[in-house]
């Protein structure tokens, strides 16, 4: 067995991680290279090769597979940089994508924007109106054809779309998930009119009830599919030229990968893959550390992301929101709950202190970066408080200007409030911690769990300065700061370590109790599809698991709950067991007695998730053990640090992470400097370095 590579292409940086047969881990970071991201990918691979003193060709020849994640498709959608596509739907219902169920005005907006009705708009038209067309056809909820497809008209409509500049076509008809005959016929007609044109059918991309989300999903998939195919095709060709024999895999937002050749047909499934990489990495680490419930928090300069792992499995969602539209993508639930270290502290019109949601972004960045930022940020407050070293970040490569930080806090916060600069900075730091606790709690509670049963994992450059405090606010029992060899490329590590996942679903609304044979047919069809898709990947899989699930709801209630269904022969008793499981999950999510069973239970969408286990089990390697618990050998020095307004500045030891060893114990207050981040161990809290080099923080 050779190397497994994970490559994570972000908007700013491309991270790569390589794991060799002995579990040794390499990592590299290089700037991303838009518009052709493959240049950065190859550079990152070169950097890995350099570390073991071999050529790119030698590394690739020895590579079992490459797992690749990219935000390029999502960025293209969000920025509106997508080619013109056509949209064909049922007569009378084209405007679904413009009406957006009315909620397109506010869907997915952060909570502070929801009350500002006057500031809301719908997004620009998803498809230009001249390319959004109707054809005469109608199928009803039973799947019965009420009006046959008018093929002459359809052909005319296709020609007009092409003449109007459509470079690909999305087809999404009412009730197509019940009967896909008209959609398939439309694809044939399009193929006759424009051979080779990229076409997506909603019955294949998202066979799920609720037409607006299905339209939006199919359209967005069509908008990014051809570009993804071109990019992956070129990347794979150049990797093959350079000697790669194993497969190139692409990460999906479901937390598993598919081969590059399979990905473009359902391109929408690859969006958000970088966000999920971090959660998958956390899942791997949690398995190694024996943590079953984890809040994975990833705090960067501009975003604060939170994902959950419950009973060892990431919490999944069946839908996400892009450009204020619901999109059906099986995904790991990752929520953006804040604005990271660049979050701006400001005074509102009532002269009340507020933190975020606006961020100083990468440019100009916090005031202390000296790049022209004048507004005080969390980072500026942390510098003033002594949490961040005056010598700068990234081992001094990012110098910080304490005077600029002080000036920003003084002019915008301290002077108007009549506070000292230090007191204002302490208030900013503490308010950020408390609010993060509130928002994290919301994420956990809304998934139906108790925060006290969770361990917080803190990733990213800006998280570890706050994690002990926000974990305390939310009531979590322990904090883990992963600081081993892949700390700075955790998402890429997650990619390298992930399995292959193929998901297929179909809506078939039924009322419980229903015919077990029909349910069995649904699952059998999905399992056949999933097995075939897994086989098509051409991978050597150690094991294949098929998971059945069904989205259920009570008759008149809004909450749909994804309910697992046992494999094997399906009879009335098995369905009854599934219904009981739905009721149990519903009660956990919404509270005991919340379910209105008198209105009946509906089975809506059936789903099979196929997991192909790759024959790699990368675990983080152990680090050297310390002779005893005393970390004095790693002491860099001491500096006054203020972590609590009431105690003021306290002379605090600062440790060098590079010199810490497994078993070292640090009692707060203490600061640990890592090249990529700074960890705060507050008073009353104890941190220990575990065998893998992670910091484990618990209350005394």
């Amino acid at each position: 067995m050779g190397y497994v590579l994970g490559v994570d292409v972000g908007g700013t940086f491309t991270d790569a991680v390589g794991i060799d047969a002995d579990g040794r881990i390499l990592s590299a970071k290089t700037p991303s290279t838009p518009p052709d991201y493959s240049t950065g990918v190859l550079t990152a691979i070169d950097l890995l090769a350099e570390q073991v003193g071999i050529s790119r060709r030698e590394l690739l020849a020895a590579t079992d597979h490459i797992a690749h994640g990219t935000t390029a498709s999502l960025n293209a959608l969000v920025m509106g940089r997508v080619p013109p596509v056509g949209f064909i739907t049922t007569r009378g219902h084209r405007d679904s994508i413009y009406i957006m169920n009315v909620e397109g005005r506010y869907l997915g907006r952060p909570s502070h924007e929801l009350q500002n009705v006057m500031g809301q708009r719908k997004p620009p038209d998803m498809v230009p109106r001249h390319l959004a067309r109707e054809v005469t056809e109608r199928i009803d909820r039973a799947g019965e054809v009420l009006v046959r497809l008018d093929e002459d008209e359809a052909r005319r409509v296709v020609r007009e779309c092409l003449a109007g500049g459509a470079t690909a076509i999305a087809v999404s008809l009412l009730w197509s998930f019940r009967n896909d005959r008209h959609e398939r016929r439309l694809r044939e007609i399009i193929a006759e009119e424009a051979p080779g044109l990229y076409v997506a059918l909603s019955s294949e991309v998202s066979p799920r009830i609720r037409e607006f989300a299905r339209h939006a999903t199919t359209i967005m998939s069509t908008q990014i599919g051809p570009g993804l195919a071109a990019y992956l095709g070129a990347l794979e060709a150049s990797l093959r030229d350079d000697g790669l024999r194993g497969p190139l895999l692409v990460m999906q937002s479901s937390g598993g990968a598919v081969t590059a050749a399979e990905a473009p047909a359902c391109a929408i499934n690859t969006i958000g893959s970088v966000l999920t990489g971090g959660v998958v990495g956390a899942q791997q680490l949690a398995a190694q550390l024996g943590h079953s419930n984890v809040m994975a928090t990833d705090v960067g300069g501009t975003t604060f992301l939170a994902g959950l792992i419950v009973d060892g499995e990431p919490v999944r969602a069946q839908q996400t929101v892009i450009n204020q539209a619901p999109v059906n993508v099986p995904t790991l639930k990752v929520e953006a709950i804040g604005s990271g270290g660049g979050a701006i502290a400001w005074l509102d019109a009532g002269r009340n202190l507020r933190i975020g949601p606006h961020s100083a972004q990468a440019v100009p960045g916090p005031a202390c970066y000296g790049s022209g930022g004048e507004e005080p940020t969390i980072t500026d407050a942390n510098l003033v408080l002594g949490i961040l070293p005056a010598s700068g970040l990234l081992g001094g490569r990012r110098p910080l200007d304490l005077e600029l930080a002080r000036r920003a806090i003084e002019s915008r916060i301290a002077t108007p409030l009549g506070l000292s600069v230090e007191a204002a900075a302490a208030a900013i730091h503490a308010a950020q911690n408390a609010q993060t606790g509130d928002l994290l709690r919301k994420v956990v509670v809304e998934c139906g769990h108790d925060p006290r049963e969770f361990v917080v994992y803190a990733f990213g450059g800006a998280g570890p300065a706050h994690c002990a405090a926000y974990a305390r606010e939310v009531g979590a029992r322990e904090v883990v700061v992963p600081l081993g060899p892949v700390a700075s490329a955790f998402s890429a590590y997650g990619l390298a370590a992930s399995d292959v996942v193929v998901t297929r679903e179909l809506s078939d609304p039924l009322t419980h109790p229903c015919d077990p044979a029909r349910v069995e047919r649904n699952f059998a069809r999905l399992e056949a599809d999933v097995s075939a898709a897994l086989a098509r990947q051409g991978l050597r899989l150690a094991a294949v698991e098929l998971h059945r699930e069904v989205d259920m709801r009570y008759g008149m209630q809004v909450g749909e709950v994804t309910t697992p269904v046992a494999g094997g022969a399906l009879d009335a008793a098995a369905l009854e067991a599934a219904a009981a499981e739905f009721e149990r999950l519903y009660a956990r999510l919404y509270g005991e007695g919340a379910g209105f069973r008198e209105a009946g239970m509906h089975l809506l969408t059936f789903r099979v998730r196929g997991v192909g286990r790759l024959p790699v089990t990368p675990g983080l390697p152990p680090i050297a053990a310390a002779p005893n618990a005393d970390p004095n050998a790693a002491l860099l020095g001491r500096r006054p640090v203020c972590l609590d307004l009431r105690r003021g500045y306290v002379d605090t030891p600062v440790y060098d992470y590079a010199r810490l060893r497994a078993g070292h114990r640090l009692d707060g207050p203490a600061i640990i400097q890592v090249p990529t981040t700074t960890v705060v161990v507050p008073d009353g809290v104890r941190a220990t370095v575990d065998a893998l080099g992670n910091l484990r923080i618990v209350q005394h």
């Binding site: 007569r91 009378g92 219902h93 405007d95 679904s96 413009y98 009406i99 957006m100 169920n101 009315v102 909620e103 009350q115 500002n116 009705v117 006057m118 809301q120 708009r121 719908k122 038209d125 109106r129 005469t136 109608r138 009803d140 039973a142 009420l146 009006v147 008018d150 009412l174 009830i209 609720r210 037409e211 989300a213 019109a349 009532g350 009340n352 202190l353 507020r354 933190i355 302490a426 208030a427 503490a430 308010a431 408390a434 609010q435 509130d438 928002l439 709690r441 919301k442 609304p509 009570y554 008149m556 209630q557 809004v558 909450g559 919404y590 509270g591 007695g593 919340a594 209105f596 307004l645």
Partner: protein, 771 residues
């Protein structure tokens, strides 16, 4: 004139002086409060941390209610809300859902403190249930509120509440909104606050009494539990917060949140010009069979940092459309929250200190018991919201920095349609009742710098949602032929109003006629007014096709795009209408779009061409309302457009009557301070300032402070495609399309589609008599 029944006036709740209320309580009810010094002593950190926590607590209450509720009205359309109140009931934090309810919840708590404190007492672990719109809590009896006192160490510390619309609470008609109720006794019985929970335990006798009145007892029982659950969540988390920060600190933050909201609203008001703005609105038909239109008058006066909403001149209560005092207050909040408080935290208790309401009793907007009031929230209260928004917008339009909050009126009512029958699609037929939710897809009003939001929804439920067509067809035996944005439904203007959607549906899966109940408004006169010369959005329009040839058409491979293609007879439905929807019939509902802003002849012709290409404006409207002409290739013809616009202006000049005092004086310059998109203060040669036309400099204000404007009255059809059905179909009073122009350049500065007797006020100024 209506007179209150003796003994009923005790149930009329009004805003109170919180200090006096606290003093009036029996000594056995000890109340927790803090001094102004404690509020002032709060440090910024504690304030921000606790404020944010209180927000997250109320958010969790709302989420609990939404998830536990069984009403599609709650779960799909978000017609509910929740509050956190201080010890005397002032609203500290409200939810973002049905914003009208904010004007009613505190009234119920004041009343409870006044009338329940000594008997049966207000104790820890109690929760009260109320659906009496005179007492407050909701705007009609279908709004049922559960509110709970929170005690800490034996002192009344705060209140929480949860409220939502119930699908049926009894009365003579399913849905509890009978179309011709002579009085409240045909509707759901109003229930003043009654203890439904004691010692944190649901009282079975009270709960049974409550569900027994409903045609859907299971759903009502579930919602009752949802509201109790939401209050329980609020209680648990508030007590934990008090535990962590101390009662005095938490209370000080609550008080300061309201003080802060009040202060910021006062600051904002102080920055706006003083003056009085007037708006008059009309409710077409008060009940089934009525052929009148009913007048609501609002004069909003802003003096320094205070607003007064005066409803004097409003018609007497009538039919089922009147609202109680709570409805007036809720209507004002509907407008005030988004217009003035988009950037101020919704500590409604503080915001409501900034205005007074003046209203006679026994009127449409302050109905006396036992007036029928079941349609209040979607009739008069909503109209009050639109009128208040008009007045506020005209005030804010006078300052450039507040123009971002100026918006012409949005859709002016909920276009109610209820279909009930037998679903025969399954082996076992089952009764169904469908409240058509597609009426969510109204249009938003235009702004000085932006078009209105197309199918932006309803202004009073900022987070409303329309269901997917597939969900409708899954749940009910209906087939939706189309749901689409209707061209020309947004009011024409320099900025166009947002278009609204229509829906057409036919029974599918039931062989029996279904019962059909329709209840709407704004079919003869426009509730969705434009601003600054912009036209109103479309009149609401409900049609039914009887005995269509649909099944033959569909079998033949055809799907109709229009009602005309369906075959059969098209029947115009009145605002109030009860009947059947038989197999083969088609029901067509079209709710209201938003009003426009400014003169449509001043709209950038390229944008009209874009609207035409995208189907938001028809060729006819482009030509007749906007004066925009396209050439044979469908491209903008600049020369022909200029000619068409000149011709339309010339027609205005010829068709309009001039004001008697008009003298063609021009101002030397206009001042920076505008009144709106057309009007500004201008300086005359002698140095005096008078209102003038911003476009041509013509002096418009006469020496008596009136606007000397040209006026043209035309039949309703002259308004263009916004009028599809002759208003005479609905009301007896003649309706006109009335336009006011600058007599110099004939820019349109005001327009309306209203009863001929309507008295106009333009940008807050009276209009001079015509020659």
């Amino acid at each position: 004139m209506h007179f209150a029944i003796p003994g009923s006036e005790i149930f009329n709740s009004r805003p109170v002086d919180p200090t006096a209320l606290a003093r009036s309580l029996p000594s056995a009810l000890r109340v927790h409060t803090v001094t102004p010094e404690q509020v002032a002593a709060l440090d910024p950190l504690t304030y921000e941390v606790v404020r944010h926590r209180l927000w997250s607590i109320t958010d969790e209450m709302g989420e609990t209610l939404r998830r536990m509720s069984g009403s599609p009205i709650v779960t799909e359309s978000n017609d509910f809300d929740f509050t956190l109140n201080d010890e005397v009931g002032q609203e500290v934090q409200i939810g973002l859902y049905n914003t009208m309810l904010a004007g009613a919840v505190d009234l119920a708590i004041y009343w409870t403190l006044q009338h329940r404190a000594d008997n049966p007492g207000i104790e820890d672990g109690d929760m009260f249930l109320c659906n009496d719109p005179w007492v407050g809590g909701g705007l009609h009896q279908s709004d049922a509120v559960v509110f709970a006192p929170l005690f800490h160490e034996g002192r009344l510390f705060a209140w929480t509440s949860a409220i939502c619309h119930q699908p049926d609470l009894g009365g003579s008609a399913p849905g509890s909104m009978p179309l011709a109720a002579p009085d409240v006794f045909s509707e759901s019985l109003p229930t003043p606050p009654i203890k439904v929970v004691r010692k944190l335990e649901l009282q079975r006798d009270v709960a049974d009494m409550w569900v027994r009145r409903s045609r859907v007892p299971l759903l009502v029982g579930l919602d009752l539990r949802a509201k109790v659950g939401a209050n329980a969540v609020g209680r648990r988390r508030l007590l934990a917060l008090i535990e962590q920060y101390g009662a005095d600190t938490v209370k000080a933050v609550m008080k300061r949140m309201m003080d802060d909201a009040e202060q910021r609203l006062r600051d904002k008001l102080r920055g706006a010009p003083d003056g009085t703005w007037r708006a008059t609105g009309w409710q077409d038909q008060a009940q089934l069979g009525d052929r009148a239109t009913h007048k609501l008058e609002l004069a909003m006066t802003k003096a320094d940092d205070r607003l007064t909403f005066d409803f004097s001149g409003t018609d007497p209560q009538a039919g089922v459309i009147s609202c109680t005092y709570a409805g007036s207050r809720g209507g004002i909040m509907l407008a005030l929250l988004p217009t003035l408080a988009g950037d101020i935290p919704w500590s409604a208790g503080g915001l409501m200190r900034c205005f007074d309401i003046v209203t006679p009793e026994g009127t449409l907007n302050n109905a006396s018991f036992p007036s029928a009031i079941s349609k209040a929230p979607i009739a008069t209260a909503w109209l009050i919201g639109n009128l208040a928004a008009q007045c506020l917008s005209q005030m804010l339009d006078r300052a450039v920095d507040s123009q971002a909050s100026v918006q012409a009126s949005c859709c002016g009512t909920w276009n109610t349609a209820v279909i009930a029958g037998l679903d025969q699609r399954a082996a076992q037929p089952a009764p169904f009742l469908s409240v058509v939710m597609d009426s969510m897809a109204g249009g938003y009003g235009a702004r000085p710098q932006a078009d209105g939001i197309d199918t932006g929804g309803l202004f009073c439920i900022p987070m409303g949602k329309a269901p997917d067509v597939e969900l409708t067809e899954m749940l009910y035996p209906l087939l939706v032929l189309w749901r689409r944005e209707e061209p020309d439904s947004g009011g024409a203007g320099r900025q166009r109003g947002g278009v609204s959607a229509s829906v057409a549906m036919t029974p599918h899966g039931t062989a029996l006629p279904s019962a059909l109940v329709l209840s709407s408004a704004g079919m003869a006169t426009a509730q969705n007014q434009g601003l600054a010369g912009g036209a109103p959005g479309n009149l609401a329009c409900n049609l039914a096709v009887r005995g269509s040839a649909l099944s033959a058409l569909m079998a033949d491979g055809r799907l109709p795009d229009t009602l005309g293609e369906c075959g059969g007879e098209v029947e115009v439905e009145q605002c109030f209408s009860g009947g059947v929807l038989a197999p083969g019939d088609v029901l067509y509902l079209h709710c209201q779009g938003g009003g426009g802003y400014g003169d449509p002849l001043q709209r950038d012709a390229r944008r009209v061409a874009e609207d035409l290409a995208s189907g938001r404006v028809s060729a006819r409207a482009a030509r007749e309302l906007y004066g925009v002409v396209l050439n044979g290739e469908g491209l903008l013809d600049d020369a022909a457009t200029a000619g068409a616009r000149d011709a339309l202006r010339a027609a205005r000049r010829e068709g309009a009557r001039l004001p008697c005092a008009f003298t063609h004086t021009h101002v030397t310059r206009t001042l920076a301070q505008p009144l709106d998109g057309n009007l500004a203060q201008g300086v005359l040669a002698d140095g005096t300032t008078r209102v003038a036309c911003r476009h041509c400099g013509t002096r418009l204000e006469d020496d008596d402070g009136r606007l000397a404007l040209a006026r043209r009255d035309a039949p309703p059809a002259a308004a263009g495609p916004i009028v599809r059905i002759d208003p005479a179909t609905f009301i007896d009073a003649p309706v006109v399309f009335r336009e006011y122009f600058c007599p110099g350049c004939f820019a349109r500065v005001h327009c309306g589609l209203l009863p001929a007797a309507h008295e106009d006020v333009v940008a807050g100024l009276r209009v001079a008599p015509l020659a």
